[in-house]
């Protein structure tokens, strides 16, 4: 185990949430160090979302050990898990899982209001600052259903960083986005990491995608899910040569 490993998976099997008997990824051994930017590639239904959920401690693994900040999740108390989760952000695909009954501002404010005893005025100020960061201050009072998928995903990103997270999981954040939105996301993530670095803090990013095209210049580590296996790509040639259509979905006869 590396000294700085923030997330460590040892011999982990990941099962489908719908069908616990169906294994999507087998025998994952993966270590995420502070400040790394991982890009995880894989075709549709290759198990990217399930793997990220297990690595973030949201779902238990079918087998193996998951350690977050050196703590084994299986033996952690609920309060330890809650503390761990507050240091981990997760942006889900397809709109980011915003609460449909809360406005944009209320969604972003939710983790702040739930976990801290900040005055309503302070919460409002922090939420306004976050929305301004993403140019969304005009949309503060709208319900998520009024926003496009791309904007919802941006709000979910702001909500995930409302608390000072140390690791940010982004599940296929660029899927279906226009080129201008993709540029915005990459620019925002770069700036976020630069700001943290300027304060002497690190922010690890774990992003998933069909291929590495968008992340090739920014990510520091690359891995792929193919044929139900997790494989770290060590050579630059492997990264440039990777195409998602080369890997069949997990669970198919070919994939197994």
């Amino acid at each position: 185990m590396s000294e700085a490993a923030q997330v460590e998976l040892v011999g982990v099997d990941v099962a489908s949430e719908d069908d616990p008997d169906r294994l999507l990824v087998r025998d994952v051994t993966w270590s995420i160090d502070a400040g790394e930017w991982w890009a995880i590639g894989g075709g549709p239904a290759s198990g990217k979302t399930a793997l990220l959920s297990v690595a973030a401690g949201l779902n238990p693994p079918a087998r193996g050990v998951v350690r977050l900040f050196g703590r084994d999740l299986a033996g952690a108390s609920e309060s330890e898990q809650t503390v761990g989760r507050r240091e981990i952000g997760f942006v889900f695909e397809n709109g980011g899982g915003l609460l449909g009954s809360l406005s944009v501002a209320e969604n972003v404010a939710l983790p702040l209001r739930y976990h801290s005893n900040l005055d309503p005025g302070d919460v409002r100020a922090r939420v306004e600052a976050l929305l301004r960061l993403a140019g969304l201050e005009r949309l503060a009072d709208l319900l998520p259903s009024r926003l496009t998928l791309a904007l919802r995903q941006r709000v979910a990103l702001l909500r995930s960083i409302a608390e000072p997270v140390r690791i940010l999981f982004l599940d296929s954040p660029l899927r279906g986005l226009a080129p201008s939105d993709i540029r915005w996301w990459l620019g925002f993530l770069r700036e976020l990491r630069a700001r943290r670095a300027a304060n002497g803090e690190s922010l690890s990013l774990i992003t998933s995608a069909y291929d590495f095209h968008a992340f090739r210049d920014d990510a520091s580590r690359f891995a792929v899910l193919e044929k139900v296996r997790f494989r770290v790509l060590e050579e630059p040639d492997e990264v440039t040569g990777y195409r998602e259509d080369a890997s069949p979905p997990a669970g198919t006869a070919d994939g197994l």
Binding site: A56, E78, T82, I88, F90, F92, L110, H115
Partner: protein, 271 residues
Amino acid sequence: MTGTTDSSERYLDLVGYGAVQIALLFRDMVAFALITLGVMLTKLGVSRKVVHPLIFAQIRQSGLRLLPMMIFLGVTFGLVIIGQTVALLSRVGAGELIGTVMVTVVMRELGPLLTAIVVLARAGTSNVVELGTMRAMGEVSALESLGIDPIHYLVMPRMLGLAVSVLCLATYFVLVAILSGWVFAFLQDVPLRPAAYFGRLGDALRWQDFALFGLKTMLFGVVIAVVSCYHGLARPLRFEEISAVTERAVVEGVIGCVLLDALFLVGYVFV
């Protein structure tokens, strides 16, 4: 002969399988209720600025918004059933039984059960649909990713809100039904003064009736919350499954309330 044995064995298998499924469902729901109770005991004061308004919102949604309907039902119930009963009892000279009949029928049995079924039909079903949609949309996973316990944020407010709502609605229902019952009897020229009517009612009431009424109605709220939240949240849902799950929740909720009612019958016998 062999064929008959085979079919009877298959039938037994089917019955046994059904019984095991019901037992497993009951076990899961009890576990869900106990987990929620545990969260309630340990986290009632945690994040109160966020969670307590949710409790009041639930009381508003499943209690206050149902009040007009419960008052309407109370008035019609009082006019149609109680009024006739009072008139009939007075005519046959069994006026002294009015209090006992009212307490037994209205306060012990029909009031709480009818209220529970109305709340289940409206607030319980909307809970299943709301939570099922949240689950299918990934909102529940998103809450977990923010370090927010869905039981604390989604289930606990519903359970407390429904318990308070059923208690209050049943109280209003009983009061309105008793009043409108007297009005009906008065309109039918039954020689019964208000003082005598309410006096007989008061004579028939014991403190145990109030205690059991409170306990029973609140437990009905708990049953509705457990069944509806369990079906909305307990396992991953797809959109197309929500309507089927809602139907199941209504059936199980009605069965749960009726079984609980039967348990209370035992309580009334011994108290």
